[in-house]
Symmetry: none
Subunit: 155 residues, 2 copies
Amino acid sequence: MQSQNISDIIEKYLKSILADAEQVEIRRSEIADLFNVVPSQINYVIKTRFTIQNGYLVESKRGGGGYIRIEKVNLVDDADVLDTLIQVIGDSITQRDAYAVVQSLYEDEVLSQREAQLILVATDRNTLGVDDHDLENSLRARIIIGILNHLRYES
Amino acid sequence: MQSQNISDIIEKYLKSILADAEQVEIRRSEIADLFNVVPSQINYVIKTRFTIQNGYLVESKRGGGGYIRIEKVNLVDDADVLDTLIQVIGDSITQRDAYAVVQSLYEDEVLSQREAQLILVATDRNTLGVDDHDLENSLRARIIIGILNHLRYES
DNA sequence: TTATCTTTGACTAATATTGACTATTATTAT
DNA sequence: ATAATAATAGTCAATATTAGTCAAAGATAA
């Protein structure tokens, strides 16, 4: 019922490969051809759906034999990744990125589904209800980081 | 014969779909065209007739392939208790009172200990980190009410 | 009459798609 | 070795495609 846009479809395609493999390595133009889009759309998909907030690391190389490699990482196992995440969030995070972070924590079984939902509600734009977007994003960052630090102590 | 304004008709149309399906996903402009109204009237119908109080959840996405999804949810048994709490909290609550509310929900087994902790972290003065106490208290109220509203139904 | 509900549309916001231009790396020719 | 060329990927801004907000105007009910 969902996934009407091509970016979502490409996202699903890549994630279906990652469901069975540690990482996926693509040639940008091949995927672009496969889905009949311009090559830069692959960058768009990666930039919006395979960020560190989503729990993915991306490496690439240009030139002959170039590639884009996407790797799924675990946020909890790797303390460095958690630190990186907190650093990336900094003092501001959008609702979209927050969703990605919470989703990742759920996938890594750090949070139950109910806990994840509660955090998303707590950081939802409409819940916070502030006009100023900068304030909204900074509040969201504080809440998410507060919770991440709490989770760290807990374990 | 009841008044059959176009908003009522659109409402019935959507609810007739929801009678057979868990959720309905629409393209705003399509429904608007179907009933010959401006697109924003769909927002009006949703805002007035598909609220969480009535047991509906609404999600949407803009841009290419955008949609509005309406889902019917089951209200939990103690929804009325939560409603009362929501009334009492109003638009402002101190950290101390929030603690009491969360504590009592934990004692009533509405929340697990871990969930309770997460909520307290999210609404902690230091987490929110705003100077203005009125703003702090109103943010805390919004967060807790958002969560209480979420707890009113099962997902 | 007056208060509330409905309808409308101009303006805003979010997300997706595209393509021109740039940057990097590998390969080939000199 | 070095320079030229080919083969990649990256960036960014313009445009397209959705949905959201808000307030004014109109309709209806109390």
